[in-house]
């Protein structure tokens, strides 16, 4: 046919340069750009048009490269971020404004965002907020909550200064500056994100690398028999090898918590959830592109499975693991005082049952990586939140020594807890070892949703009493958590929930139990808050009911009962300082008064079906591991040429560790942050800074950085007997110490460099002081807690059941904001996730395994957020700082649910509050 475009010469213009591609019919432009043109700034989050990460301009119009056949662009102009930032003024302005506003957290959505915004600004140089939202509405961001992105586009559009961006070096105007603690400087690792050059998990493998694909169970539970794999390899073009349990040289078993290690790399005989791996296939990129997993020789036999906890606890239920009778994996328990008596004596009480579902982490970057095997050493480049845990797991799986394994994390396009668990790492390592060649893998969106961990669904029954004067009198919490097929971080959830289910309140009589029950579902694991957000939903909703029964103002009721210094927590832990919840709640008083008044006015005037309401909720979260050692170590050194090197092993998954840890170190050492050179994370060169979880990095690794900075400083000062107040100036070959008018010079050339090339270095470790919990959960679980209170205004369409959040005020006690710009970013991003959990997100295995059916908030769903930074310093925190990463989401969902009730009287007790559920609840009221 004359009109066929020859597949080996598809000519088009890429970023103003003529190029020619060679692609089979139906290849997606995203694939061609990434693998043939090296254009790895075009990200792939879903391959289905649902995330917008792959947005490019074709003849100036933004389209999804993953939905564009490469042949389609023959003769056309294609533009991507890396090209645009070189020649397009809008793109240049956007890359600056994104840095100013802190609009790129993990950075995986940034190319799609900026490219979409370029198209907007070319057509509409001075857009308003609605136009900005329309333009970026097709690009999902899971980190930022969109507000900073919207502000960045507005800023780039007009050079008009937006809220907070007042050039004062405070929130919203990130500049470079000295970076001293408390200054809202830009992300230090931001430039690579806004230029599209940061390499994520799928961006490191050279083109042509062998590709690995995993064969997964199509059933929640199935027996299976593998066919003749040697024959399969021998007879299938381009297939190099297969992997199964038989190829695992060490233990075919891994897990997050040593006492509960139970998950196989490849299932043997039987699978326990839909999407569980049974084998892997490795082949050339060409062969694997067309490889259909259905063609793999395996016979499946579906078996009876249990999806819900009730069914799993039934007598005749299939048992998932021996030794875990009744499918109960573990229990957590906290008891203090006498709860039955207190509830008996209470003047009033309320009780309720609450249900939440699986929630998907929804990071835009699917798990991906690349591994090599050279000279007996495996090197894995993959996205992770816990490089040293990855290495430990591989040691056992591969049967190698630690020094034969190197983990070099790539940039991480969001983690939120799920990338604490290993995923692609063992497949890659085994594949590289078996074939002797480098191997790469990228999970499809469906794979990541099917096989990686989820937030635990919870069934919670709670009863709370109070006296007439408003004081709490007893709280009983019973939670059953669906922990899925394998332990993962389920034990942590079971432990954390009873410790936190009181909320940040003084409750003398308390009994809380959380049970983790296995089902044939993907493993439930760590997800921002480890079960605490679920517990807060129940407790904070009932607090509103208590306040209503007492005819008390819900905010004042909480202030009255707020935990204070010198009062024991439900674990009997007494803080002499640093308890900041009352300060957070009080900080909401002005917004509470203002919005209550506005809402009363709106509801009095409106005649249609719209009703507005305001709700509040509080939360707390213990930073670091529960009663367990969790040290972090930081190393820093000075080279002869005056370079100050910080070995920064704390994974930055978008939350900002690279910036915050550097700011703390620079402050302690006494130099501007811009002078630091950051190395790592990399298990061969950075000491263990622990995992990025439990809101511990700023607190724990931050302290290690502070101690290291102080130690290095002390060594230098002692070399010239200078006082602690002396100032340092580090230059090429010399350190100048200025002390009270005297100047000392340390000639670095005269010092002997060590093996790492450092003439001076320091390495310090910090481990938060905790004490074990007894059988009643009494002890010292955490060295510090962080505190939060959110206020939310919603509009409910009572005829349709839709809920539109209109405003949030979020008060967070962070002890000391190391970087207020980053604090705001965490708060807004956490609220967006809490909003999603409250209103739209529900993972249903087999039904919502893609981003088309699994809905997360878009730019149009997030209202403005007023962030109120409260600083009640903590004696243990670096410069008083407390953790924040998980606190940001705990009060959000209950605040929304309380606002819905305030608006229309409907109490939602099953999440998410979809329009259908809200509508049903409203109908229930009027019958």
């Amino acid at each position: 046919m004359t009109n066929a475009i020859p597949s080996d010469q598809i000519g088009f213009t890429l970023n103003h340069t003529s190029v020619s591609a060679n692609s089979p019919p139906g290849e997606r432009l995203s694939e061609t750009l990434r693998e043939q043109m090296g254009q790895r700034d075009v990200k792939i989050g879903c391959n289905a048009g649902d995330c917008g990460a792959c947005t490019v301009l074709v003849d100036g119009d933004p389209v999804c490269a993953c939905l564009t056949p490469t042949h389609r662009v023959a003769g056309r102009q294609v533009e991507t971020l890396t090209g645009l930032v070189g020649y397009d003024d809008s793109a240049k302005a956007l890359s600056e404004s994104f840095l100013d506003q802190g609009a790129a957290q993990c950075g995986i959505c940034t190319p799609g965002m900026i490219v979409s915004a370029v198209a907007l600004l070319r057509a509409t140089p001075d857009p308003d907020e609605e136009q900005v939202k329309d333009a970026i509405g097709g690009v999902l961001c899971r980190c930022t909550g969109y507000r900073k992105i919207i502000d960045a586009v507005l800023q780039a559009g007009t050079s008009k200064v937006t809220a907070g961006a007042d050039g004062s070096g405070k929130v919203g105007s990130g500049k470079t500056g000295s970076g001293k603690v408390g200054s809202g400087i830009r992300h230090l690792d931001g430039p690579a994100k806004v230029r599209g050059t940061l390499a994520f998990g799928d961006d490191v493998a050279p083109p042509g690398t062998l590709v690995l694909k995993v064969i997964r169970s199509p059933f929640a539970r199935a027996a299976f028999a593998l066919g003749d794999l040697d024959l399969f390899v021998a007879t299938t073009d381009g297939i190099k090898a297969t992997l199964t349990a038989a190829d695992v040289p060490g233990d075919n078993c891994f897990g997050a918590i040593p006492a509960f290690v139970d998950q196989p790399v490849f299932a043997e005989h039987e699978t326990r959830f839909r999407g569980e791996a049974v084998a892997a296939v490795i082949g050339t990129p060409e062969a694997m592109r067309a490889f259909d997993p259905e063609s793999f020789p395996v016979d499946w036999h579906q078996l009876a499975s249990v999806a819900e906890v009730d069914a799993a606890m039934a007598n005749d239920a299939p048992q998932l693991h021996t030794g875990r009778d009744g499918n109960e994996m573990c229990k957590g328990f906290v008891l203090c005082g006498n709860v039955d008596q207190a509830l008996e004596q209470a003047d009033i009480f309320v009780e309720g049952h609450f249900t939440t579902g699986f929630v998907e982490h929804g990071y835009i970057e699917p798990e991906a990586g690349y591994a090599t095997f050279e000279n007996g050493k495996v090197t894995v480049h993959a996205c992770t939140q816990a490089p040293v845990m990855d290495r430990d797991a591989l040691e056992a799986i591969l049967g190698l020594h630690a020094d034969q394994i190197r983990i070099v994390p790539t940039a991480v396009g969001g983690g939120f807890g799920s990338k604490l668990d290993i995923s692609v790492q063992p497949f890659l390592a085994l594949g590289a070892m078996k074939t002797g060649h480098p191997v790469r893998i990228t999970y499809t969106r469906r794979e990541t949703m099917q096989s990686t961990t989820k937030r635990h669904p919870a069934e919670m029954t709670v009863k709370i009493g109070a006296m007439k004067d408003g004081r709490l009198s007893g709280l009983r919490f019973d939670g059953v958590f669906n922990t899925g097929a394998y332990a993962s971080w389920g034990p942590t959830v079971a432990t954390r929930v009873p410790i936190h289910a009181s909320g940040p309140y003084r409750i003398a009589d308390y009994r809380a139990q959380a049970r983790a029950i296995h089902t044939h579902n993907p493993p439930s694991g760590a997800f921002r808050g480890f079960g605490v957000p679920q517990a807060a939903i129940a407790q904070e909703a009932l607090f509103d009911q208590l306040a209503a029964k007492l005819a008390m103002d819900p905010l004042e009721f909480r202030i009255l009962n707020a935990l204070d210094n010198h009062q024991p927590t439900v674990c009997g832990q007494v803080f002499e300082q640093g308890v900041g919840i009352r300060a957070c709640l009080k900080a909401l008083r002005p917004a509470w008064a203002e919005h209550n008044a506005k809402i009363a006015e709106f509801n009095a005037q409106t005649t249609g079906p719209l009703r507005r309401g305001v709700g509040i909720a509080a939360g707390w979260y213990g930073c670091g591991n529960t009663s367990l050692a969790n040290p972090s170590t930081i190393l820093a050194g000075l080279r002869v040429d005056g370079t100050i090197v910080l070995h920064q092993g704390a994974m930055d998954v978008g939350q900002g560790a690279n910036t915050v840890i550097a700011q703390i170190f620079a402050q302690a050492f006494g130099v501007p942050v811009a002078q630091l050179t950051l190395l790592g994370p990399d298990t061969d060169i950075t000491p263990d800074a622990g995992k990025t979880s439990a809101s511990r990095q700023t607190f724990v690794t931050g302290n290690a950085a502070r101690l290291t900075g102080e130690a290095l400083r002390a060594r230098i000062l002692s070399m010239c007997n200078a006082s602690p107040e002396a100032t340092l100036e580090v230059g090429p070959g010399v350190v100048k110490v200025l002390d009270d008018g005297h100047s000392h010079q340390i000639d670095l050339n005269k010092l002997e460099p060590n093996a790492m090339g450092y003439v001076l270095h320091a390495e310090e470790t910090y481990d938060p002081p905790t004490k074990p919990l007894d059988h009643n959960g009494q002890g010292v679980p955490y060295a510090q807690f962080g505190y939060a209170a959110h206020l939310c205004v919603v509009e409910v369409d009572t005829a349709l059941g839709t809920v539109k959040p209109l405003h949030f005020s979020a008060a967070h006690d962070v002890g000391q904001a190391i970087n207020p710009l980053l604090v705001e970013g965490q708060v807004q991003g956490g609220i967006a996730q809490g909003l999603g959990m409250a209103l739209m997100e529900e993972y249903l295995p087999g039904r919502t395994e893609n981003l088309h059916d699994y809905l997360m908030p878009t730019a149009g769903d997030m209202p403005r957020v007023e962030t109120i930074i409260v600083e009640v310093p903590d004696a243990h925190g670096p410069y008083g700082a407390k953790g924040l990463g998980e606190h940001v989401l705990i009060p959000t969902a209950p605040a929304i649910l309380n606002a819905i009730h305030n608006a229309c009287g409907a109490r939602i007790t099953r999440l998410p509050a979809t329009p259908a559920r809200v509508h049903a609840a409203i109908k229930g009221l009027t019958i």
Binding site: M1, T2, N3, A4, I5, S7, P24, P25, G26, R28, E31, N47, A48, G49, D50, G52, T55, D61, P62, V63, C64, L67, T68, P69, H71, R72, A74, S116, A119, K133, D134, A135, G137, G138, L140, R289, A290, F291, D292, R446, P609, L800, T802, M840, E842, L844, T848, H852, D853, L855, P857, T858, A859, G860, T914, P915, A916, H919, A920, K923
Partner: protein
């Protein structure tokens, strides 16, 4: 196997006659339906066929070519009867999807939640379906025969949507109910086309409800009941919106229950009619 980009309709039809070709337009349904495998295929890309990417006025109405995207419709200068179609276009997916996806692709994909179907039903659209055997016109209401089923043979393709010139200068309207703002498939949607006489009485009322049955439907009884009504009369008869919706047969899915869809369909009809009037 091959990628064909004919310049003319006859060339395109010749590719189809030879067999095994898949027609692709914006590919926004094609690729997601493919999944993650890129298997060798024979693709017929109609985006370069001359004249197919156009919205044009004819002697008796309007024609929307098969390669016309949602963005093209948004940008076209059209009478207010098309306001509902434009509102629907603005709510399809995202800018990225609107820039690539076509109206005809939306109809041919025949999803129960296709946002293009209700407004085009109210406009009385017909499809021009042709092959080397000849050409035929099929009313949209007959073209989509079920969930993902259309009246089209393997050697045929749709070249255009024809819309008769609207009489009495009616106004179109569209309302979509989804669980988030962008990138959302409708839980339910309603499109209307309404004209009033000088006395404020409804003289033309067309209503189409989507995602509440296998194929979007026009509840004829409701349309009849609306004729002659004024806004005030409608306000006085809230039951009118639900009385006539029994023929809908919604299903339950992840987006909402059947009961919910049935219950809110009336409210959406009311708002979409009132919206067209105001």
């Amino acid at each position: 196997m091959g990628y064909y980009t004919p310049d003319t309709v006859p060339d395109a039809l010749e590719v189809l006659r030879q067999g095994d070709a898949t027609i692709i337009a914006g590919c926004t349904d094609y690729f997601p339906n493919q999944g993650d495998i890129c298997a060798p295929t024979k693709l017929l890309d109609i985006s370069r066929v001359a004249g197919l990417r156009a919205v044009s006025q004819t002697t008796d109405g309007w024609t929307i070519g098969a390669a016309t995207t949602w963005s093209d419709v948004i940008n076209a200068d059209l009478p207010r009867a098309f306001d509902g179609l434009k509102m629907a276009a603005r709510e399809v997916g995202s800018v990225q999807i609107q820039n690539a996806g076509t109206l005809v692709g939306n109809l041919c994909n025949a999803s129960p939640a296709a946002d293009g179907v209700p407004p085009l039903l109210t406009l009385g659209a017909e499809l021009e379906v042709i092959s080397l055997r000849g050409s035929r016109r099929v009313p949209l209401v007959d073209f989509i025969t079920g969930v993902r089923q259309i009246d089209m043979a393997r050697d045929e393709m749709v070249v255009a949507i024809h819309i008769p010139a609207p009489e009495n200068a009616p106004r179109g309207y569209f309302l979509k109910l989804g669980a988030r703002k962008y990138l959302v498939i409708s839980i339910a949607m309603v499109s209307t086309l309404v004209a009033l006489d000088a006395g404020g009485r409804i003289t033309c009322a067309r209503v189409a409800v989507g995602a509440c049955s296998a194929v979007a439907r026009r509840p004829g009884a409701l349309e009849v009941a609306l004729i002659g009504q004024t806004v005030d009369q409608l306000m006085g008869d809230p039951g009118i919106w639900t009385r006539h919706l029994a023929p809908l047969a919604p299903i339950s899915d992840v987006r909402g229950s059947a009961d919910y869809r049935q219950e809110i369909a009336g409210e959406l009809c009311k708002r979409a009619v009132m919206g067209a009037i105001q």
